[in-house]
């Protein structure tokens, strides 16, 4: 085969190797920035807040943002910025635990369903469908009614409600992996199903699971805010963005900044994790990589 033989229009494309063609797409960039911002706020709150976040200060209530109180004060004369910073912790805490619970249960179930097939796989997926049909918020309200409203109960409930999405996406990825020759090769090499799940299936669905985790994180943040707003999540006396919204709703007209600030924080955090998830999906997708 001579070089002259290949027409210019059909340049034999050199196989795309590694990460050469991957670009930081805007979603990943903006989403990642917002996520980092939330993380930074949470970290900063451990070492510095302008004022103790939950302490009633000797100053006026309902102050609009000014030099002393950058984001104003609420009706209990507490500093809003300090609460927002500490609230970022609650937000991340809830997200991490809820997503952790969902992934730890959902991913093994998805792999089990994909690898077992037959009645066991069917049973797992049908049980999954039943849970999926149950609105997350309803489940959380039920849990709150049973075990009392607290951050912990809220995030466990949110986590349980998020299991099906993890199980589903893991199963679909795992089915693809199970049909490859390298899994057949692993069977022919003498590996049992457990070793195959750990060595081949899990690493190859990890990308999917990470993307799902970032999207689920956004949903968890929103759900926690909703629960706190309903008075079923984080109790009074602890900083939470949803809780701040709840406490500010009666003064929506007179002190709108008390609603706008936590509302914007929630919106930006959710947006950030969603964009991050989208960006990550594009970044990890091997099909897009080739373009």
């Amino acid at each position: 085969m001579s070089e002259a033989g290949s027409p210019a229009g059909m340049m034999p494309s050199t196989p795309v190797v590694g990460t050469g063609r991957r670009h930081l797409n805007p979603s990943l960039f903006v989403g990642g920035g917002l996520v980092l911002l939330v993380v930074a706020m949470a970290l900063v709150s451990y070492v510095w807040t302008p004022y103790p976040p939950m302490r009633v200060l000797g100053t006026e209530a309902y102050q609009t943002p000014n030099a002393d109180f950058w984001l104003g004060t609420d009706r209990f004369r507490r500093d809003v910025l300090s609460q927002i910073l500490v609230g970022a912790r609650t937000t991340l805490y809830v997200g991490v635990v809820a997503v952790g619970v969902a992934a730890l249960v959902g991913v093994p179930l998805g792999i089990l369903a994909a690898m077992s097939g037959g009645w066991l796989g069917q049973t797992v997926m049908r049980a999954n469908d039943i849970l999926l049909a149950f609105p997350a918020l309803l489940l959380a309200i039920m849990f709150a009614a049973l075990y009392g409203g607290s951050t912990q109960v809220a995030m466990i409930a949110i986590g349980i409600a998020t299991i099906p999405s993890f199980a589903r996406i893991t199963r679909s990825g795992a089915l693809g992996v199970m049909s490859t020759d390298y899994v057949t090769a692993a069977r022919a090499a003498g590996h049992g199903p457990f070793a195959i799940a750990l060595r081949h299936v899990l690493p190859n669905v990890a990308g999917l699971v990470i993307v799902q985790a970032s999207v689920a994180f956004a949903i968890a943040i929103l759900a926690e805010a909703a629960l706190a707003y309903l008075g079923l999540g984080t109790p009074t006396g602890q900083a939470s963005w949803g809780r701040m919204l709840y406490e500010a709703q009666s003064t929506l007209r007179s002190a709108p900044h008390l609603v706008l600030v936590p509302g914007a924080a929630i919106a930006l955090a959710v947006l950030g994790f969603n964009l991050f998830g989208d960006g990550l999906r594009d970044y990890l997708d091997p099909k897009l990589e080739r373009r």
Binding site: Y182, A188, A189, G190
Partner: protein, 301 residues
């Protein structure tokens, strides 16, 4: 060797008293298709039916057939990855058709596989070192250091450098990836190598190299080879004896040269005549003529 029940198979083979490497007796495999109606039984596909065959030790046996002829199904059963619905399969005198996977550990170091698609047969997330060592890990052979040494030895045996071990599959070409596949298959020191269309996905220029490699390792490691292909010209290159498979059955089993020189079964004749021929090509008989010839022979297609 007696004729099979169907009686259609044209057989010309030597009789041997040794225990064969692989013995198939009246092997059949049916698949149920999804139910189409509530009242009728689901339709059944007979992927493999009534295959009887002995493959002697050290033999290089080819199985040829078009796609859908059941050759891959047959192969999976020989490898203990699927079970026949009827008949029996013995590897080196030990039955495998009725054993649970947990009791086929011995088969995993007796028989190994090379696959068709060099893209899908290596886990993209594993280093070559771990891919090649996989059968050793699975069978608990050797310590970490011993495995490392063995991987290097195997890579060199298939013509790859030792530093390939630290790279990932996507950093290799199709031909190199098939070499990695061969190295993995050789790792547990098998007696039988099963190759499922190992060169079909490769460029013509690389095919010969991989075929020569398989040739070399079969010689060098004293292996029995089972080689499946849809391409008679490829099989001719490596096999001593060939079975032609069609619609789940063997239609002809014969030593390679005899099969090419004097195909007995009409389907074999058709296949042999369809092999591209340099002289024909030079004479100006192009692919179009071959296509017409094929169409004339199989009006139902």
């Amino acid at each position: 060797m007696s004729e099979v029940a169907s009686g259609e198979v044209v057989r010309s083979e030597a009789v041997s008293s040794e225990v064969p490497a692989i013995r198939l007796q009246d092997v059949g495999r049916d698949f149920r298709r999804p139910r189409r109606s509530l009242t009728q039984a689901p339709p059944v596909v007979h992927a493999v039916r009534g295959v009887t065959l002995d493959i002697e030790r050290g033999e290089r046996f080819g199985i040829v057939g078009e796609s859908g002829s059941g050759k891959s199904t047959l192969l999976r059963m020989i490898c203990g990855l699927d079970r026949p619905t009827s008949g029996s399969i013995e590897v080196e005198g030990r039955p495998i058709h009725n054993q649970p996977a947990a009791r086929l550990g011995w088969l995993r170091h007796t028989l190994q596989l090379v696959f068709q698609d060099p893209m899908s047969s290596l886990d993209p997330r594993m280093r070559v070192r771990d891919i090649v060592a996989e059968p050793l890990v699975a069978q608990g052979q050797g310590s970490g250091a011993a495995r490392r040494a063995r991987v290097v030895e195997l890579l060199e045996a298939v013509g790859l450098s030792a530093d390939s071990a630290d790279r990932y599959p996507h950093q290799f070409s199709g031909g190199q990836r098939q070499r990695i596949s061969v190295a993995r298959a050789l790792a547990p020191g098998p007696d039988i190598l099963v190759a499922d269309e190992p060169v079909s996905a490769l460029d013509v220029s690389v095919r010969a190299q991989v075929l020569n490699l398989i040739d070399d390792v079969v010689d060098g490691f004293d292996l029995t080879l089972v080689f499946v292909s849809h391409d008679l010209s490829v099989v001719r290159h490596v096999c001593d004896r060939v079975a032609v498979m069609r619609q789940g059955e063997f239609v002809e089993v014969a030593p390679t040269e005899q099969l090419y020189a004097d195909p007995r079964h009409p389907y074999t004749q058709q296949l042999v005549s369809a092999i591209p021929d340099l002289h024909a090509a030079l004479d100006g008989r192009a692919a179009a003529d071959l296509a017409r010839a094929v169409r004339e022979r199989s009006p139902d297609a």
